[in-house]
């Protein structure tokens, strides 16, 4: 059973790694977009999937990361990829400031507040706050990233850059899941009164979950800015947040394979059915409704963590 899953993962990874050679520029670019969304959705998965906080404003953190990179690159000429940690840090800081007062809100209340935040950020960007965001037109002329002196420009090059970061994200988040921290988030999701009663500082962990999610969304913002070379407020609207929310719910809350599959379905499938234009959204909506009724835990819900019960406590590497 477990071995079978590993074979599926390996085949999938091999196919994915070879795909730029088999696909044209358009489809490679679709995979790049999917890659970005995988990373974003995995970061939201920490907040929504693991900790169970209904956060529908993730695009706000994505925007902070993208604009940080764009502004610092175009004004100070700092290399794009070096701005990744800065963007992550600023997005995390932003999350810390806005999440602190709302962290105790439950479910639907938190949802509404986070929707408010993402709209505030978008409108602030449109209105060119501090005169640095370029208003509705956004910012253009962002540099291409450079890796070891090589300028990344073709979709295939971007493919490997983006999916490299996706791989790092999966690796680190997998470790994060299998730890005291990951468990604490799950306890809070299951029952926060019992979690506090077991000695877990629930407010602290909720906040850290928010910050980690935001830092990663900030990293994604850098990649997005570098890939597009032009960013505008409309890239970070409410609908983006809804899509990410849907990916996590559809794929399986708290499950890395689930979130990846969810991203392929939510972002990739509509591309396949482009000729059906608006009808595809209809089907899409119907599928969502069906899922929520018949499989509310998502397509690939997380497996229970495995532990070695012979005394040595190395959690087994089961994703």
């Amino acid at each position: 059973m477990k071995n079978k899953r590993w074979i599926v993962y390996l085949v999938f990874t091999a196919l994915l790694m070879a795909s730029p050679a088999m696909l044209n520029r358009y489809w490679t670019d679709v995979l790049n977009v999917v890659g970005l969304y995988v990373m974003l959705a995995l970061s939201l998965n920490i907040i929504l999937g693991h900790c169970g906080m209904f956060h529908m404003g993730h695009a706000a953190f994505y925007a902070v990361g993208a604009y940080t990179t764009a502004i610092l690159n175009t004004t100070c000429n700092l290399p794009v990829l070096w701005l990744m940690p800065v963007s992550g840090l600023l997005a995390g800081l932003f999350a810390l400031v806005i999440a602190r007062p709302i962290i105790h809100l439950r479910g639907d209340y938190l949802l509404i507040v986070t929707i408010g935040f993402v709209e505030i950020v978008r409108i602030a960007l449109i209105n060119n706050v501090f005169g640095i965001t370029g208003g509705a037109n956004g910012i253009f002329g962002i540099d291409r990233p450079t890796v070891f002196g090589m300028k990344i420009r073709t979709p295939a090059q971007f493919f490997y850059l983006i999916w490299f970061f996706v791989a790092v994200t999966i690796f680190l988040f997998h470790k994060l899941e299998h730890s005291r921290f990951g468990r604490a988030l799950n306890y809070i999701r299951e029952d926060d009164v019992a979690a506090a009663g077991s000695g877990i500082d629930t407010a602290h962990y909720k906040l850290i979950a928010f910050v980690i999610g935001a830092v990663w969304a900030g990293f994604c913002g850098t990649l997005f800015a570098a890939k597009m070379t032009i960013i505008a407020p409309e890239s970070f609207n409410f609908w983006e947040s809804v899509l990410l929310f849907m990916i996590v719910l559809l794929g399986g809350r708290g499950s890395i394979p689930g979130v990846i599959l969810g991203t392929f379905l939510v972002i990739g499938l509509p591309e396949l059915f482009r000729q059906f234009a608006t009808a595809r959204m209809l089907v899409f909506g119907a599928v969502m409704i069906g899922m929520m009724i018949f499989r509310p835990e998502g397509i690939l819900p997380p497996q229970p963590r495995a532990y070695r019960l012979d005394g040595s406590a190395e959690p087994e590497e089961a994703a």
Binding site: R180, N186, V193, A194, R305, S312
Partner: protein
């Protein structure tokens, strides 16, 4: 020596006096029972001790230290663990992970250590796992370790809550109706378990409706009625106390 000291504890919910000027001591190393008819305010007292509610008045002193204003997780870290009247396990997680929740407050590693898993973090995880398995063995649930909590029988779920509470390494454990929903056999086993908890040097404070359990296990009993303390003493004293009999059975109308 007094481990837990309650003084003039008062809690109002709107017009309802849930706990009215209640004072009692829990001596270290003892098993103390808190009894009373339904709605007497027993669980409210527990919720006040564990920081789930804030008292309107009065003081809660644990080991010489006022804890009335501390958040729940700090109180747990100081050594007060609890179980819940309505079972509050993490239903979708395994029994083992439920107990690991209790180990949490004795561990240190955070999110960064989790991502990079240095040797000290791995060692800490190994210790926690050993500890959790030991607590599962203590309540005889070791063969259920990898079962989801929701798949355990009712009696076993209650025991799992006890194991989770014990994993916090408490000095005082507060059990809210631990025998609720248990059959006679399971209750007998529970009395054993409670005595073993005491033998480990952990003080026990419990709410229970099963009088045979209370009379067998408790050295001291506190009786509440309508939020106020009406009696306090050993099992024999309490059984003979006319006010207690009145509270439980009512008075005869002439």
């Amino acid at each position: 020596m007094t481990l837990l000291h309650l003084e003039h504890l008062t809690k109002r919910f709107g017009g309802l006096m849930a706990v009215n000027n209640v004072s009692f001591d829990v001596p270290a190393g003892s098993i103390v029972g808190l009894i009373g008819p339904n709605g007497a305010g027993k669980t409210t007292v527990f919720n006040l001790i564990t920081g789930n509610y804030r008292a309107d008045n009065g003081q809660i002193v644990f080991d010489g230290r006022p804890i009335g204003s501390l958040p729940t997780h700090r109180i747990v870290a100081l050594g007060v663990a609890r179980t819940f009247q309505t079972i509050r396990l993490f239903q979708k997680l395994t029994a083992l992970e439920n107990v690991l929740a209790g180990c949490h407050c004795r561990m240190k590693s955070g999110s960064i250590a989790a991502m990079f898993q240095p040797p000290w973090q791995r060692a800490e995880e190994a210790r926690a796992l050993d500890k959790a398995l030991a607590e599962l063995r203590f309540v005889k649930l070791e063969n259920q370790a990898m079962n989801l909590a929701e798949n355990l029988s009712y009696g076993n779920q209650r025991l799992l809550e006890v194991a989770r509470a014990l994993a916090t390494e408490p000095r005082l454990i507060i059990l809210d109706e631990p025998a609720g929903g248990m059959n006679d056999q399971e209750t007998a086993r529970l009395i054993d378990t409670i005595r073993q908890i005491q033998a480990r040097g952990v003080t026990v404070l419990l709410i229970e409706h099963d009088m045979s359990l209370v009379m067998k296990a408790c050295e001291k009993i506190v009786v509440l009625e309508n939020g106020a303390k009406i009696a306090e003493g050993g099992p024999r004293e309490i059984q003979a106390n006319p006010r207690v009999i009145e509270a439980y059975l009512g008075t005869e109308e002439e």
